[in-house]
């Protein structure tokens, strides 16, 4: 581990110097395995938050109160510590320029992590493909990568609580929200949806109901394992 950065009160980005790393595609993840001295092991998957072009491999970890691995990664791990990784993993939930667009990214909570990697890659290759991120979080304090995302075409909605000066959207991303902010189905956008299962399925269903081609929609569901 090279360094860590607190993104929010409970989310930390961890930069790693990955030995013999073959490179990765934006959207992929790694499996992290911890081994205790008595041989006990625990393993979890984390999306890669960095673009293939970035200097270090970065994962962004949300600390779960009753978690087994996330408290270790966000509180115990210090620079110089080693972490066992398996990856990069995933050939389905990836974006590269050759896949085209326009590109619609829809994030629910921690689902923003792989989509941020896609955005960083999009910028690193100076892609001219139109891209937009719709990002749903509970409160302003839960927003990850805020400053960085402000530099892109990003629409944020805060569903539970908003800071006093908030003039952005509120409420869940529903059909009406998508009808306003997504490309029309006729433009055949490539859509990547990531977040909790309920969120992903509601968005996918709403897009299909709006006429979007299901084969242009890619989904990744996050949840406790």
């Amino acid at each position: 581990m090279v360094e860590d950065v607190a993104e929010t009160a409970r989310t930390t980005s961890i930069a790693l110097d990955a030995v013999d790393w073959p490179g990765h595609l934006a959207g992929q993840h790694v499996d992290v395995r911890l081994t205790a001295e008595d041989g006990y092991q625990a393993q979890r998957s984390y999306s890669i938050a960095s673009a293939p072009e970035d200097e270090h491999l970065v994962i962004t970890v949300q600390r779960l109160d009753d978690g087994e691995v996330s408290p270790y990664l966000t509180e115990t791990l210090v620079p110089g510590d080693e972490l066992e990784l398996r990856g990069p993993i995933g050939g389905y939930f990836v974006w590269r320029e050759a896949l085209g667009g326009p590109l619609l990214l829809v994030a629910g909570g921690a689902g923003v992590v792989p989509l941020r990697a896609i955005l960083r890659h999009h910028r690193a290759v100076a892609s001219e493909i139109p891209v937009r991120l719709l990002y749903s979080a509970r409160t302003g304090a839960d927003l990850i990568y805020r400053a960085e995302l402000d530099g892109h075409d990003t629409i944020i909605t805060l569903t539970d609580e908003q800071p006093p000066e908030w003039d952005g959207r509120t409420g869940r991303i529903d059909s009406a929200f998508l009808a306003e902010t997504a490309w029309p189905a006729a433009e055949r956008p490539l859509v990547y949806i990531c977040g909790p299962t309920g969120f992903v399925e509601a968005i996918a269903d709403a897009l299909v109901t709006l006429g979007h081609d299901p084969s242009r929609i890619r989904t990744e569901r996050f949840g406790p394992t």
Binding site: A36, E37, Y72, E82
Partner: protein, 201 residues
């Protein structure tokens, strides 16, 4: 040998609790929900519990008939093969002895079957003599569908995968037929005190 993660402990029980649990288990205060499929939604009006197979005559109870049978409370520790144990859990339901008293059988084995297709097998001896129930209450409330409601098999002396959720009956058999997880390499019997997690243990 994988690298040791400096300072990683994993889940550990405190020592007072540790003596109560079988080898390799940790105590949880949660009640994890594990499943091989979606929670079935069986309307109670069409629910039934059956005993069939190697019996003189198959028996069947509707929900009304079933819940009219004598039931008892049970307070016991439960142990899941995925390593969590939960202490002093309280349940209520009908003893398998009450149900098996209504049939004559020379069968030696039982295969429990459930909504959603799950099955698990046990020796008949292991569901007799006060060792097994069909439970429909947990902590004095109707059993939550997530945890197997309306009713699940409850055999706490074995790993909890044997306590089949959404149970709809038992088939009495002369031969032992491996159930769902048993067919995938989990131990045919599953005694947590002998740490019988996998076939060959």
């Amino acid at each position: 040998m994988p690298p040791i993660s400096r300072g990683f402990q994993g889940r550990r029980s405190d020592s007072a609790e540790a003596v109560r649990v079988p080898p390799g288990q940790y105590v949880t205060r949660d009640f994890p929900v594990l499943s091989a499929g979606p929670t079935p939604h069986q309307p109670i009006e069409s629910w039934s519990f059956e005993i069939r197979g190697e019996v003189d005559e198959p028996r069947s109870w509707t929900w009304e008939q079933f819940t009219a049978l004598p039931s008892e409370g049970i307070k016991v520790d439960i142990h899941c093969v995925t390593k969590w144990s939960k202490l002093d859990t309280s349940w209520a339901g009908v003893s398998l002895d009450t149900l098996l008293d209504t049939v004559d059988t020379s069968a030696e084995y039982v295969l429990a079957f459930c909504d959603g297709g799950y099955t698990t097998n046990l020796p008949l001896d292991d569901v007799c003599d006060g060792k097994a129930w069909i439970v429909y209450e947990y902590e004095d409330e109707p059993l939550d569908p997530e945890h197997g409601g309306p009713a699940r098999l409850f055999v706490p002396h074995l790993y909890f995968w044997k306590s089949a959720k959404w149970v709809r009956g038992i088939e009495l058999r002369q031969d032992d037929q491996p159930g769902f997880w048993e067919g995938y390499g989990y131990h045919n019997y599953g005694d947590p005190w002998k740490e019988q997690r996998y076939a060959g243990d």
